[in-house]
């Protein structure tokens, strides 16, 4: 047996794995048998051995060592030669281990309820084109087109930004924040998400961010700490075609189960309204062990790092290394004039300023200078803003003039008390205050705003639909108001009338979808009496404005440049109100008569004759307008940029193509349902 072993060792250089295995087996057998049986067995097999035990004993340990040595060498060679095989065996081992655990089942859910959104096209007590259509199974997909059963936002493109009624944009917006609208959708069961699919049925491409919340909106005892994590983020893209598509971006793995998703929208590059049909959330109930989907490469700048908090900005980091640096030389940055450093820092977004303030005393002094905080936009940081953040910012915002806190403070992040104390401290010189979709606001907050901000000129309370009607009475105290947005609020007629009485300098007023106002004729009458410098008026979906009211409005507010009367179905063109409008408002730049089925040829002819500065016109859904008057309008209004003739039955797509070729500067919209 031993000579056999020695021979095979000598010929071992040509060892294949099979032979080595056999050799190993035989060695092991030999080792075992040497331990159990001694020379007597060998002599029985007819091998020659010295009968003395001593030389045998000396050979055994040596042989054991040799065998171990060769065992290790050959195993290493086999490992290097057949790596994939060994890997396969390892995977097989792991799979074997995994099969012992319960199999993770992927759960697929449609939206259960739309909890919050910034705007929508439809009416408040309707199901057509409203955001609530996003919940549940898809109604339209895979068809494409402009259907009533989809969720549509109020605006598209950049047409609304171009109007003077939207205020100037805020500086220091971080370059990766493009969101214009948002919606929050709750699902039934919290899962660890593996995929999110959005069924878009018309002009897709508006979704730019998907976030997940750690809070379960249906739970009885909500936790104090609410976290939002970004699942996916992208740039606004130009839509290639209006056809339906299923949008399924690769999403990040997050550490908590979620049943509340937030989608943020930017439709500035889209040709028409984007429409969403349904959202599907795929996830697993247990935390996934291995990655079940590929993790895309995320730019480190786009990740929301929850560690860096604005609230940390309050801490003063006194580094003793500052003196040390003086000795070494710090690049002479502090030799620059104060104003120059201020200018350099004015290009930094707010979180970077807060981080910079923690580095050294010089930067802390610069970053705390109130002159850096004349304009402050906290909207991009809505997920992280809390009462403590406001508290720490208070010391620097004494000279605050323009403040944007839209979208902030929801789900308990801000309290009315915290906001009121911030306002009392910093609101004295406020000129512009944007508070759209701020659901934490109460009547007390508005009272504090009215008391403190005596020179406030712009106030935006769009979609603050949880604000009680009596809160709006306080706005009348802000007599210097020039721009007021009350879109989708519960403001009542009496509050509006008192605002109009006491704020005669109003130039831009938005009362779109204010369902609690009973009689718009009275409101408009007061406007024409008191607010003669009105430049823009948005009366989208005001149900009961009559011809008498419209005529009164245009006779009083002669400086009107923008008038949105979309979906005001009570206006009848046969009374001549639109012709009167055209004659009275020569400066008219934007006129929306969406879904007023009575707009006719004579109205367009009057517009062509008198309103030559017209830039945006929407006459969707009328059967009474023919090609001839449309052509005349386009010829007479050289500055026209937007014309919406969707669902006008006399205007067919062939004629639209003809007009587009004749008037290339005009963007003519013709929607379809297919």
């Amino acid at each position: 047996m031993f000579t056999f072993c020695v021979n095979s060792v000598n010929s071992g250089d040509s060892a294949s794995t099979d032979r080595s295995h056999r050799w190993i087996e035989s060695t092991e057998y030999a080792q075992r048998s040497t331990q159990t049986q001694r020379c007597t067995s060998w002599t029985r097999r007819g091998l020659r051995f010295p009968t003395q035990t001593q030389p045998c004993c000396s050979m055994f340990p040596m042989l054991t060592l040799l065998s171990m040595f060769y065992y290790i060498c050959l195993r290493r060679r086999s490992r290097s030669g057949t790596r994939s095989e060994s890997l396969g065996s390892r995977r097989a081992v792991e799979l074997g281990q995994r099969s012992a655990l319960p199999v993770t089942v992927e759960v697929e859910q449609y939206g259960k309820e739309v909890l919050d959104f910034s705007s929508h096209y439809g009416s408040e007590n309707s199901m057509s084109y409203t955001m609530w259509n996003l919940a549940g199974v898809p109604n339209v997909y895979p068809s494409s087109g402009d259907f009533t059963q989809t969720a549509v936002f109020r605006t598209y493109g950049n047409w609304w930004e171009k109007c003077t009624s939207s205020g100037p944009s805020f500086r220091r917006t971080p370059p990766n924040f493009h969101s214009q609208d948002y919606l929050e959708l709750a699902f039934e069961e919290p899962v660890y998400p593996t995929a999110v699919e959005v069924l878009e049925t018309y002009h897709p491409g508006a979704i730019i961010r998907i976030l997940a919340c750690s809070l379960n909106p249906f739970s009885q005892n909500p936790p104090a700490d609410v976290r939002w994590e970004v699942l996916w983020t992208g740039k606004p893209c130009k839509s290639l075609s209006p056809q339906a598509r299923q949008f399924s971006p690769g999403i990040r793995q997050i550490s908590f189960p979620t049943n509340l998703l937030r989608l943020e929208i930017n439709s500035s590059l889209l040709e028409y309204y984007t429409e969403l049909d349904a959202v599907i959330l795929r996830g697993v109930r247990e935390r996934p062990i291995l990655a079940l989907y590929k993790i895309p490469v995320i730019d480190i700048n786009e990740l929301s790092d929850s560690e860096e908090e604005i609230s940390d900005a309050g801490g003063l980091c006194c580094r003793s290394t500052v003196e040390h640096r003086h000795v070494l030389g710090n690049g002479f940055f502090d030799r620059l004039p104060y104003e120059l450093i201020q200018l350099i820092l004015s290009h930094l977004p707010i979180p970077d300023m807060c981080r910079l303030a923690q580095t050294c005393k010089l930067f802390h002094k610069h970053c705390s200078d109130p002159l850096q905080y004349i304009q402050l936009s906290l909207q991009p940081y809505w997920a992280r803003l809390t009462d403590t953040s406001l508290c720490h910012l208070q010391s620097r915002c004494a000279l605050l003039q323009r403040l944007n806190m839209s979208w902030t403070g929801n789900r308990g992040a801000l309290t009315p008390a915290g906001f009121c104390s911030f306002m009392s401290a910093c609101g004295v010189s406020l000129v512009c205050l944007e508070l759209s979709c701020c659901h934490f606001l109460t009547e007390a907050c508005l009272e504090v705003i009215a008391q403190t901000c005596s020179c406030l000129q712009e106030l935006n309370l769009a979609s603050c639909d949880r604000l009680q009607p009596q809160a709006f009475n306080h706005i009348a105290k802000i007599t210097s108001l020039r721009r007021l947005v009350l879109y989708r609020t519960k403001v009542e007629q009496s509050a509006v009338l008192s605002i109009l009485t006491f704020c005669p300098e109003l130039q831009h007023l938005n009362l779109g979808s204010c369902v609690m106002i009973e009689d718009y004729d009275v409101v408009v009458g007061m406007l024409s009496a008191r607010c003669r410098s009105l430049r823009s008026l948005d009366l989208w979906r005001c149900r009961n404005l009559s011809e008498r009211g419209l005529v009164e409005l245009v006779s009083g507010c002669r400086l009107l440049e923008e008038l949105d009367l979309g979906w005001c179905s009570t206006l009848q063109s046969s009374s001549g109100c639109f012709q009167q409008l055209a004659r009275s408002l020569p400066r008219l730049r934007k006129l929306f008569l969406t879904a007023n089925r009575t707009v006719c040829d004579s109205d367009l002819e009057e517009l062509a004759a008198h309103c030559n500065a017209l830039q945006h016109l929407d006459i969707l859904g009328t059967r009474m307008v023919g090609p001839a008057s449309l052509r005349k309008l386009l010829q007479s209004c050289p500055q026209l940029k937007l014309l919406d003739v969707s669902f006008c039955s006399q205007i067919d797509s062939r004629f639209v193509q003809e007009l587009t070729s004749l008037f290339p500067n005009v963007s003519i919209k013709k929607s379809f349902t297919q």
Binding site: S128, W567, R623
Partner: protein
């Protein structure tokens, strides 16, 4: 003494047993639909549940079953408007309202009003008019709530006899009450009734009650006794037999409509009003046949 107590106990048990609800189980409707369009070319189902200018829907939400029929007024064809567009959109919108739960089972007029309002919220400028009849079964309370605007209607048959029926609403001969959307300027010339003028009724039902909801194409061609005869052939509460019976009713009405010598209820009514006519009335026929049964999942 002991016997008094035991007697008292028996009495109490009997009284309490009588006071408690007999049946805790929900009811539901098993419904089948059938119909024929007047125009043979349009006999093909356009979008499903649409027969000529008639349209219907069947929907369910939680414990409520809802049915509806709508008869599009054919006169719009002369003005270039497709009469089926209005009735089909009205019924589809009612179906969507029901499926999303935006209704109260005890108020079918609410469904009609909301649906009519939703039609006005459509970007597409709809035109047309139609009658409407909506039947809601509240499975929990075992009550049927109905509303009817126009000359469509329903029959409730129990034990071979008609126990409830709807009334026709007509302005004058062959001009029923109708919901309509008129072109601007023609509002004065077009008949337009508000959903509030619809007839509402509510009544209890029992297991095995048969409810027949149909447009005037059925009732104008088949008198009650013929309908009852067909309904006697209903063997059991399975969907197939209901479908078969509905089909036979609709087919018979369709045959009678084109019989020139048959004295149809329509011809009878015309004669009563001084018009000497005879024969059936060719019209779109829509039949929804339902049976009240226990709810099984």
């Amino acid at each position: 003494m002991l016997s008094v107590l035991s007697y008292g106990r028996i009495v109490a048990r009997a009284v309490l047993g009588g006071l408690s609800q007999t049946d805790g189980r929900d009811y539901s409707l098993i419904t089948a639909s059938c119909g024929f369009g007047k125009d043979f070319r349009k006999g093909i189902l356009k979008k499903g549940m649409c027969y000529g200018d008639d349209a219907c829907f069947i929907a369910r939400h939680k414990s409520a079953d809802v049915l509806g029929v709508a008869d599009g007024v054919g006169g719009w064809r002369d003005y270039g408007v497709d009469p089926s567009q209005f009735s089909v959109t009205l019924m589809r919108t009612c179906e969507r309202l029901v499926k999303e739960g935006r209704f109260t089972p005890s108020s079918p007029v609410g469904i009609l009003t909301s649906s009519y309002y939703e039609l006005l919220q459509n970007k597409v400028p709809l035109l047309g008019s139609s009658t409407a009849c909506i039947v809601v079964l509240d499975g929990r309370s075992h009550r049927i709530h109905t509303c009817n605007l126009g000359d469509s209607g329903f029959l409730v048959v129990r034990g071979g006899e008609v126990v409830h029926r709807s009334d026709e609403q007509q302005h004058y001969f062959n001009t029923p009450f109708q919901l309509s959307i008129a072109p601007p300027g023609a509002e004065g010339a077009v008949l337009s009734d508000s959903p509030e003028v619809a007839d509402s009724s509510s009544f209890d039902v029992q297991l095995g009650d048969i409810i027949l909801t149909a447009t005037d194409g059925l009732f104008d061609n088949m008198p009650d006794y013929m309908i009852l005869q067909e309904l006697k052939k209903l063997k059991n509460t399975s969907y197939d037999s209901i479908q078969q019976t509905a089909r036979s009713i609709a087919e018979q009405a369709h045959e009678l409509a084109y019989d020139p010598n048959y004295m149809s209820p329509f011809a009878q009514f015309a004669c009563d009003n001084g018009l000497n006519v005879r024969g059936g009335k060719p019209d779109d026929i829509t039949v929804l046949l339902s049976i009240v049964a226990e709810y099984t999942d």
